[in-house]
């Protein structure tokens, strides 16, 4: 099951189909609200992709990923408002700065294991958010920064939701493609080996530390880009969206979508983003319903949405129980 969902042919087909569907979607949606939701699904997909590489393939949990998202958002905000750099330059610098931050924090923390690593990333996330709040001259403190310019193509300012939708999903699809190639490459196989057993991987000559830091930096880069997109979409940043609760929400997206699955990142980002919109109507009850759904999904689909659904369809098709998973 696992092998098939990751097979090249499967992707070869899925990629253009998903791309075409996404390109056509704005013509079917006549409502800017739905487009706005799709923009956020795109941003969350990029975030979930990066975290999924880290959690699903390298087996490292991060509870502070919102920090990289925030670093990306603040980088472009500072560059474009204070230094008046062009937005595209800000957008290009944001992932670099976030990646650099990931490198600096990753060097010491990735030596830690399991819950200790999780706790260290959590601590890092907390510290970064406090810096956003307290470093007033640069970040505007808790009141944040307004007046971030929109992205533009030539003379055309990308202020419209529809235009921004294409920008976000262009990047999201590009990163899906990049991630897919990474996963299928030597690096990907090495990562999976690290996930399965670090000792075994090390004994066959995989440089674990190097791969771990590479993936960590990569996921930081993804998050930084997502943050910059957020900043140019909302055109205002403040520390609140980059706190612990959002880090947790990202982990939830990855696990609910299905770990070690590229499409799981889209599934998880879509499911969690849509769920919180659908639950609007429950008003005071929405928190309760959200918590209950999360518990139930994890109890009945512990592998996440993508794998559980693939499982289900496979079972229907063959009318036989799916084969037990065999690790490579």
């Amino acid at each position: 099951m696992d092998a098939r969902s990751q097979s090249p042919r499967y992707h070869f087909l899925a990629f253009p189909i998903v791309g075409a569907l996404l390109a056509a979607l704005p013509f079917a949606l006549h409502n800017n609200y739905y487009i706005g939701v799709m923009v956020f699904i795109g941003i969350h997909t990029i975030l979930a992709l990066g975290l999924n590489l880290l959690m699903g393939y390298a087996g490292q949990v991060s509870l502070g990923h919102a920090a990289f998202y925030g670093i990306g958002a603040y980088t472009t905000a500072i560059l474009t408002t204070m230094l008046k750099w062009p937005p595209w330059v800000g957008l290009a610098c944001a992932p670099m700065v976030a990646g650099l931050a990931a490198y600096l924090i990753g060097m010491p923390t990735l030596k830690l294991k399991g819950h200790y690593l999780a706790m260290a990333t959590l601590g890092f996330g907390m510290i970064v958010k406090i810096l956003f709040v307290e470093y007033y001259p640069l970040t505007g403190g808790t009141s944040g920064m307004t007046g971030i310019p929109p992205l533009s193509l030539g003379k055309l300012q990308l202020v419209d939701d529809r235009q921004f939708y294409y920008v976000v999903w262009f990047f999201a699809l590009m990163l899906i493609w990049v991630s897919y190639n990474i996963v299928e490459s030597r690096v990907g196989r090495a990562l999976r080996a690290v996930h399965t057993s670090e000792i075994a991987a090390a004994s066959v000559g995989v440089d674990i530390a190097k791969y771990k830091i590479q993936v960590f930096v990569l996921s930081g880069v993804y998050s930084g880009l997502a943050g910059a997109l957020y900043a140019h979409y909302i055109r205002f940043v403040n520390p609140d969206p980059f706190g612990f609760m959002f880090s947790i929400q990202l982990v939830v997206m990855v696990v609910v979508g299905g770990m070690a699955s590229i499409w799981g990142a889209i599934a998880g980002a879509s499911a969690i983003t849509l769920l919180s919109q659908v639950l609007q109507r429950f008003e005071d009850y929405e928190v309760i319903v959200f918590g209950a759904i999360l518990v139930l999904v994890m109890i009945y689909m512990p592998q996440g949405l993508t794998k559980s659904i693939v499982d289900l369809t496979a079972r229907r098709r063959s009318a036989k129980p799916s084969k037990p998973e065999v690790l490579p």
């Binding site: 923390t109 200790y116 260290a120 928190v287 309760i288 959200f290 518990v295 994890m298």
Partner: protein
């Protein structure tokens, strides 16, 4: 007020909050020992304990100690239910999806509490009245003494339970080796449920003793839970003594940092120290075995 009495004040305030962190950290360790998962709903047990005590006190008009007892028992029951949900999937799920279950549960508890008891903070009366005690220019509120005393009692109770009772020993056996424990006829699932119940009750106690100082609100649990988690990691996950030391160290450092350096960076200081300790000793101060998440 001179610097020494200021520092004394920071230390005393630090021990007061640190004791609460220690109780919460102990709860983390209890569950971690039993099922090797981190229960991120631990902070919500603290909240539920405090909120229930306030509610029972106001609604039923019973004396304070009865309200406290009811709250502890009810929260223990809630913990047992969560334990049941966890063992239901224990074998089929990865530790990560179990952690997500506890996150879901924590969101759920928070939502229920918000709905039942409102969005504002609520006060709980102090256990005894009386003026603050002055020690060398520093001040100690009577409730702090209650916090010290009850925390010490709790820790002693947990120690005796694990070291002196056969039930506690069985639980330790489960922690060391589940398979072996099963072979000698220990009902592992029952032990797991009990671990959840005890750790929930512990959390409730923490919430109740701290509520007269800090007030009770539906969203008090998240931050307290995180700090407790931080303390547990600091001391070494799964170690009882480590949990206590971790809690106290965290509480004192936090207050010293806020007082001597900057209150703006209070939480940052706590987390920086934790990171530094982790870099030097990757399995916490008292973590004997390498605590791998998997």
């Amino acid at each position: 007020m001179d610097l020494t009495s200021q520092i004394l004040q920071y230390v005393l305030s630090g021990i007061t909050v640190g004791a609460i962190y220690a109780i919460i950290a102990l709860g983390f360790s209890l569950i971690y020992n039993a099922v090797e998962i981190v229960n991120l709903a631990q902070g919500e047990f603290v909240m539920l304990g405090a909120m229930l005590a306030v509610y029972v006190l106001q609604a039923a008009g019973v004396p304070l100690f009865a309200a406290v007892l009811i709250a502890i028992v009810v929260v223990g029951g809630v913990g047992a239910l969560l334990g049941l949900a966890a063992i239901h999937r224990l074998k089929k799920s990865s530790p990560l999806s179990l952690i997500i279950i506890t996150i879901g549960a924590s969101i759920f508890f928070k939502g229920v509490a918000m709905h039942l008891w409102g969005k504002d903070a609520l006060p709980l009366p102090a256990f005894s009245s009386g003026d603050a005690i002055e020690v060398h220019g520093a001040v100690l509120v009577p409730q702090s003494l209650w916090i010290f005393g009850i925390t010490a009692l709790m820790l002693l109770g947990v120690y005796i339970f694990y070291e002196r009772t056969s039930f506690g020993k069985a639980m330790r056996a489960v922690a060391v080796n589940k398979h072996g424990a099963r072979l000698v006829g220990i009902n592992v699932n029952r032990m797991v449920v009990w671990a959840f119940a005890i750790s929930a009750a512990l959390g409730a106690v923490g919430g109740i003793i701290v509520a007269p100082v800090t007030l009770a609100s539906y969203d008090m649990g998240t931050m307290l839970g995180l700090k407790g988690f931080c303390a547990a990691i600091l001391g070494g996950l799964g170690s009882g003594g480590g949990a206590i030391a971790g809690g106290l160290i965290l509480g004192i450092l936090e207050n010293l940092g806020a007082g001597l350096i900057s209150s703006a960076y209070k939480d940052a200081i706590a987390f920086v120290v934790m990171l530094l300790i982790l870099f030097v000793r990757p399995s916490g101060l008292f973590g004997g075995r390498s605590a791998d998440g998997r």
